[in-house]
């Protein structure tokens, strides 16, 4: 409200100032008019000169008066643009035909939203930073030196670096074989074969895991034209469930500043499926529940649970 009042006062000064400018202009015009017209016809030469000078003086005085008036008003007007929170865009509020162009209210709305967004993003980022991955923290020691190098732009990492991280992850787990493909451009697609249990297709964007599909060991992972199939789901219900859980894991393991840690954590988690069919549920002690083995693996302890038994 204060803003609006302020604008109202300024408006008054504005109109006066505009009037003053007009007055100044006309008085200046008069000066030049009289100069242009030159001396008027009088009986004597002296009379002519005298009349001309008097008129010229009067005119200049009028200009001076108007100028003083304008200067006085200009202090009243001040600099409204600076006092307004939205800077120059605040001037939009001066538009008298608000109903036709509701630009200003829309602008305010957008401003409010962007403020809120920034606030929430700040909260989220601080929360994400707090959530440390304890399991991976030990392994991080070695990679600590490299971290600053990763940080600048994690979405545009050189392919060699991605290859390097993947091959290092592959060496960590002898029962996991990772094949790396780049079917389109630089984005990598991994085919992870876990023992004789499952094959997971992992679609990466730089070092971020975008999508994953888990299928049975005996299932075909290629399309008819010999490319990796990154879309169709497994024919088996077990692996459809595991795919769902793997997608959950992708959302769980988040650490935007250290994508290589995320890849390693995800692989560690995925590797716990090597005993998918051999481990009974840690809660109910059975292998099967509704025809499915324990498909859930705890994110921290990697213990096996049925989907319905986890809590």
């Amino acid at each position: 409200m204060a803003d609006v009042m302020n604008v109202g006062v300024n408006l008054e000064a504005f109109s006066q100032a505009i009037n003053a400018i007009q007055a100044l202009r006309s008085s200046v015009t008069r000066v030049f008019d009289s100069l242009k017209d030159g001396m008027k016809n009088k009986e004597t030469l002296e009379g002519r000169e005298k009349a001309f000078i008097t008129e010229f003086q009067d005119n200049l005085q009028a200009v001076n008066r108007d100028l003083n008036e304008l200067e006085r008003l200009s202090t009243l007007v001040g600099r409204p643009s600076e006092s307004h929170p939205l800077h120059n865009s605040g001037l939009l509020s001066l538009d008298p035909v608000q109903d036709k162009t509701p630009l200003y209210s829309q602008l305010l709305q957008a401003y409010k939203w962007s403020n809120k967004l920034q606030y929430h993003a700040g909260l989220a980022s601080s929360l994400l930073n707090q959530q440390s991955l304890k399991r991976s923290a030990n392994q991080m020691g070695a990679s600590a030196k490299r971290r600053p190098k990763v940080q600048p732009s994690t979405l545009a990492l050189p392919p060699q670096y991605v290859d390097d991280v993947i091959s290092r992850v592959g060496r960590m787990f002898p029962d996991v074989s990772i094949e790396l493909f780049r079917p389109n451009g630089t984005s990598a697609v991994l085919l992870v074969t876990l023992g004789k249990v499952l094959k997971a297709t992992v679609v990466m964007r730089s070092l971020f895991i975008d999508r994953t599909i888990v299928r049975g060991y005996s299932e075909n992972v290629y399309t008819e034209d010999g490319k990796l199939d990154i879309w169709s789901k497994s024919n088996y219900q077990v692996f459809q469930k595991v795919t769902d859980h793997a997608t959950t894991a992708l959302l769980h393991y988040q650490l935007p500043q250290m994508p290589d840690v995320v890849v390693r954590s995800f692989m560690t988690w995925l590797r716990s499926y090597v005993k998918l069919f051999q481990t009974p549920c840690q809660r109910c002690g059975k292998f099967l529940q509704e025809g499915l083995p324990p498909t859930w693996r705890d994110f921290r302890t990697l213990e096996a649970f049925h989907d319905t038994c986890r809590q």
Binding site: K196, V197, G216, Y217, S218, N235, Y236, Q237, V238, F239, K275, L276, F277, Q278, P280, K286, F287, L288, E290, G291, L292, P293
Partner: protein
């Protein structure tokens, strides 16, 4: 193709073959299994005519030619204990051409026919084993399609079989243990047929159940 276990289920005391099969169907349906068509497995027996066997060979082994509705265009030929051959159905024609050397023991044809059930990733086939048109027993085949390594999923399969076979749960099929790589070698369709062959040989030696003719 997953890990498969074939076993014989004894006929319930005081019940006919058909009644026992119906009981099994009912148990499977209660479990939530869904009927999915029918199946058959058959087995013809051939023996070499005396003159065909080589001099140094012992009394010639029997040659079995089997078919499985799961692989309708294949023909599986087995000697007990191996070797085994997978061929296409023209192999049957070849056996006709070979009839002067290998005779088909007509009366020995055994087959198992029945209903195919699906429960999650399990396939269950309950069949009536018949030989010369008399019902001789019941076969149950359980396949866990999602896994290819017997050593991985045997306990899980056993738990599943317990849920509808009760105390009749079989031991780990010997065909898996017999492989040089042991239990962790991936299975193939021959493993299933070898198990059926063992079951059929057992049935063949069995006494005919009095009054148990095919429905």
């Amino acid at each position: 193709m997953g890990v498969t276990c074939v076993c014989q289920v004894p006929i319930l005391e005081g019940k006919s073959v058909q009644q026992t099969v119906d009981m099994l169907h009912k148990k499977l349906e209660q479990l939530g299994a869904v009927k999915q068509g029918s199946f058959f497995v058959d087995c013809e027996t051939y023996h070499a005519t005396s003159n065909a066997s080589g001099k140094k060979r012992q009394p010639s082994k029997l040659l079995y030619v089997m078919h499985n509705s799961e692989t309708p265009l294949s023909c599986l030929a087995l000697f007990e204990g191996g070797p085994y051959l997978t061929a296409d159905v023209n192999f049957d024609v070849l056996m006709v051409k070979l009839k002067s050397h290998f005779q088909n023991a007509k009366g020995h044809k055994v087959e198992s026919r029945g209903t195919r059930y699906r429960y999650c990733d399990f396939l269950v086939k309950v069949g009536t084993v018949t030989m010369s048109s008399s019902a001789r027993g019941i076969s149950v085949e359980v396949e866990y399609c999602a896994c290819v390594v017997p050593g991985d999923c045997w306990n899980l399969m056993k738990e599943f079989m317990q849920s509808f076979l009760g105390s009749n749960v079989p031991e780990l099929p010997s065909v898996f243990a017999a492989k040089p790589e042991g239990l962790y070698a991936p299975v193939d369709c021959m493993d299933t047929m070898v198990q059926y062959l063992e079951l059929f040989s057992k049935v063949r030696k069995q006494q005919v159940i009095p009054g148990a003719s095919v429905r």
